[in-house]
Structures are given as C-alpha cells and as structure tokens.
C-alpha cells in the first residue's frame, strides 16, 4: 500500500482537522470526534445532518455550509458512524424547527442514524430522516436491503438544504428531499479497486483489460465484470440502465459526471461529452452539469453518472445560493 497518510489510526481525525482548517470561517469540528458543523450556527431553520463512512470525500463534511448541510458525521473508512457521534452532531445543530438526517441506504447507516434520532427525541429534539437509494445497479426488491445511496445524495443535500435555508418546516424539507430521491438515479463503474488504509490491500482485483460495472462506493463488487471498452460505450451502458429505470424523455435534468477519486478530469470530460450527445439524442434536456469528484471511493478509478429530473420547484432550489467547501452556487 502506498498512501499519503501518517498513522492509519489517525486518517479520519487528521482528514477532518485538515478540512476544517481549509475553511475556518465556515466550519468547526466538534471535540467529541470526527463531526463537522457550520462555524456559525443558524437558528430558525431546519438543520440538516448527513454522514457515513469516511473515504467518500468531499462527502459529507465538504457539503457543510450555507444552503446545504448544518452538520456531517464521518465514521471510520467505509464504516457507519456510531449513534453517539451522530447524536452529538444532531444536538450541536438542532434548532426549534427540528433536524432532518440524510442517510444513504446501508443497513448499518440506517440503524445507527435511527438510534441517534431516538436518543435526540428522548432529549426533546424534533428529528426525522430520509433514506437515499439512487443506485440503479442494485435490484430493489423485497429480497435485498434495496438500492444503495450514492452520488445522488449530493443533490438531496443541495435541494433540501436550499429549502431549509429559506425557513421551511421539517415536514416541507423532508417532502422535498423525498421528491429528489424519487427523481434521481445513478450508476457507476470502476477500472481499478481502492485500498482501505486499515486493510492495506485492494478490496478486489481487476486485470488490465477488465472493468467492474455497477460498482458501489465501498469497493464492493458490482453487477458484472466485463472486458474494458471505450469510454463512450461504457457511458452508454450506464445511461441505458439509468434511463430504463424511470422516464426522463422530454424532461429537464441535472447531470453529475462524478469521479470515484482516482479518475483524471480529462476522462470525466470525455465521458461528459458523450453524456450530452446521448441525452440530446434521447430528447432529454440538460439544465445543468456538474463534473468532478463529488462522492468518491478513496482512490478508485472510475465514474458514475447521475440524472435528476427537475421541475420548477427543484430548479429554483437547485439554483439557490450554496457556499460550502465542495459546492458553491
């Protein structure tokens, strides 16, 4: 393993300290652990809290700030944060209007967030949560835990964050978050695996001519292993799956071409070039495009494509001001 770290056990803590030091006027770290909150707490709004394992930077600490999150909890790499840490985050940001947690659909994340919310409710804090499950690679059925939450989560932060900033109620913010979840779909792929610092070796092996389609953001296997093919053909395969899932034709969409952490921007732009051609041909109108590393899997090389169907309400919230280390508008 070759990584720019110090001691493996300090990875999460030093990462969060460094993030906060990069934006000291905006962010503050709680003393109790790897929890980031806004430097200046804003009253009179629903507070948004997200979190999950580390390794997905800039998610989620990078999305703390005006117009997006109020707090973010970072667990160990690829491991859900514990309820006590989530509870401290909720407590630190809670206002009279309540707290909405944005949770990606993983069994551990949901249970830990639920416990933290129960603890917060016992303290008289109004708290609720939504579960993001945008990954079309995983079959959603009664017989699985359901679709994973991946890069689409960033758009939930953006849009629910914008409505919360305007002073909407907890019920209204939750409803708009659920509207985003109902309209956002993502699928990803990788050409290399990633290495968790504590494991020291990659989660799986891919030969030079292989790729993993339908990859998650924890290095877990995807839906199929295939021979590597040109970027356009890969993007087409992902887009077919996404546009088969819900109907985007005739709709306006926000697009994220997301890097998995180890993908050069050069390659993401090549993918984006094809994404635009594909959507034009299908009669899907692109309202806005984000290209970059928004939800990563440490140093994995690969990308995901996210499409969000927009209506007037979502467009106006998408455009609202955001001022966070990782996303500004």
């Amino acid at each position: 393993m070759k990584k720019l770290i110090n001691e493996v056990v300090n990875v999460e803590e030093e990462m969060i300290l460094g993030l906060v030091k990069s934006a000291p006027d905006k962010l503050r770290k709680l003393d109790c652990g790897t929890v980031v909150v806004r430097a200046n707490k804003k009253e009179g709004k629903v507070a948004l809290v997200s979190g999950g394992g580390s390794g997905h930077e800039p998610a989620h600490g990078g999305y703390v700030g005006e117009g997006m999150l109020d707090g973010a909890v970072a667990g160990a790499v690829f491991t859900s944060p514990t309820p006590d840490q989530i509870y401290e985050a909720i407590k630190a940001v809670a206002t009279d209007k309540g707290v909405l947690c944005i949770v990606k659909n993983y069994t551990g994340d949901i249970m830990n967030f639920e416990m933290a919310i129960d603890m917060a409710k016992d303290e008289g804090i109004k708290a609720d949560y939504v579960v993001v499950n945008d990954d079309v690679a995983v079959k959603d059925s009664l017989y699985t835990t359901g679709r994973r939450g991946v890069a689409g989560t960033v758009l939930v932060h953006k849009i629910a964050g914008a409505l919360a900033e305007k002073g909407a109620s907890l019920e209204e913010v939750k409803a708009v978050a659920e509207k985003v979840i109902a309209n956002v779909r993502t699928m990803g792929m990788a050409i290399t695996a990633c290495t968790m610092p504590a494991a020291g070796k990659p989660g799986f092996e891919l030969a030079d001519n292989e790729m993993e389609i339908g990859i998650g953001i924890h290095g877990e296997p995807g839906t199929s292993r295939e021979a590597l093919k040109p970027a356009n053909a890969i993007a087409e395969e992902l887009l077919n799956k996404i546009t088969d899932d819900i109907d985007f034709v005739g709709k306006e969409v926000a697009v994220i071409v997301n890097g998995m952490g180890g993908t050069p921007l050069m390659e993401l732009y090549i993918v984006n070039n094809f994404v635009h051609d594909y959507l034009d041909k299908k009669g899907i109108k692109i309202y806005d495009t984000m290209v970059g590393n928004y939800m990563t899997s440490i140093e994995m090389a690969g990308f995901s494509i996210t499409l969000l169907r927009l209506d007037d309400e979502l467009k106006s919230l998408y455009n609202a001001k955001a001022d966070t280390p990782a996303l500004k508008r």
Partner: protein
C-alpha cells in the same frame, strides 16, 4: 455477570478470525474484528462496574458496543444488551425467569432495530430458537442449566440452518442466492455468546 462478559469477550477474541472469514464470504468481512474491538472496550470498563447491579452492567455493555463496534452488529448487539439490562435493572442475581424476560427483551430490540425476522439468515436464526427452548424449559420447571443447555443446542442448530437459506437482510442480501451454503457470522457470534453463558453459570 462481569465474569460471564469477560468470558464472552475472550471467546469472541479467540474466534475473531473465523467470524471475519465467515463474513468475508458473504459480505464485507469485518464482523470478527469489529466485535472483538467492541468487547475489548467492554472489558476495559467492567472492573469499574464491580458491585453494580446486573441491569447497569448490561446497559453499559450495550452502550459500549453501540459506540465502538459500528456497522450493523454494533447497534444490534448494543440494543440487545441495553434492552436486557433494562429488564434486569436493580437485580444482583438472575434466575431462569429473569433470563427468559431479558432474552425476550433483547430479541425484541434486535427485531425492532433490524426490522428482521427468522429465516433471513441473521443472528435471529440462532437466538429465536434458543429463546423458545429456554422458555419452554423454564416454564416446565427445569432448572436454569438444563433449560439453557437445550437453548444452546437450539442455537447451534439455528447456525446450521443459516447455511441452507438465502440472506434477505443486510449486506449479504446483495449477493442473493450466492449466500446459500454459507454460515451466517451474526448467528455464529450469537451462538458463541449463549454457549459461553452456559459454561459460566
């Protein structure tokens, strides 16, 4: 109770690699390591708990597991110990009826938190049959050791049963039918706890 928990911690530590290996076959391969980390933290707190009632000791155990294990096993076992602790609050000794009540509360907590039931390849496949056997034995007037012996046997059978079924909860559910043939690590760790309890009462 402190000695029993220390024995459980030792057993989990001993079987750490085996549990991780079982987990690796069907999910993300951290069950053994995470459980051992959690019980290490429990052991570190136990000496300070000497003289406290069983309920407080179990509650502290649960809270510690929740805040150190992470993933799914942390909240599940943590909730189980906390719920059992709540049932045994103020008690310094535990009889068969107490154990039935505590185990019922613990299983209820796991079902509530994990939204799972038996037959889904989880720790419940060891715990539920064990509880049924324990309850039947105690209600029929057997002493604690006899009833618990049957419960441990039922848990062991439950672990075997997990090899035959498909996972429909947790990360192992992503691989669907490919999970058949593999033994569930959560059911296995639950069996180890009951077996250690029996050996130490």
């Amino acid at each position: 109770m402190i000695d029993i928990l220390k024995a459980i911690a030792a057993k989990i530590d001993e079987e750490k690699d085996y549990l991780t290996e079982l987990d690796n076959e069907i999910a993300d391969g951290d069950h053994g390591v995470n459980m051992a980390k959690g019980f290490d933290a429990v052991v570190a707190k136990l000496d300070a708990m000497a003289g406290k009632d069983i309920g407080s000791i179990l509650k502290t155990t649960g809270m510690t597991l929740v805040s150190t294990v992470g993933g799914s096993a942390g909240p599940l076992y943590g909730t189980a110990f906390m719920k059992a602790g709540a049932k045994l609050a103020g008690k310094n000794e535990m009889d068969g009826k107490d154990l039935v009540e505590a185990m019922e509360a613990a299983i209820g907590g796991i079902q509530m938190r994990g939204k799972a039931t038996t037959g889904e390849k989880t720790m419940l496949d060891a715990l539920c049959p064990a509880f049924d056997a324990l309850k039947e034995g105690i209600e029929a007037g057997e002493d604690l050791k006899d009833a618990l012996t049957k419960a441990v046997k039922a848990a062991e059978d439950g672990v075997e049963y997990t090899k035959t079924i498909k996972a429909t909860k947790g990360r192992a559910s992503y691989i669907g039918d490919r999970s058949i043939g593999h033994q569930d690590p959560g059911a296995t760790s639950a069996f180890y706890m009951l077996e250690t309890l029996l050996a130490n009462i």
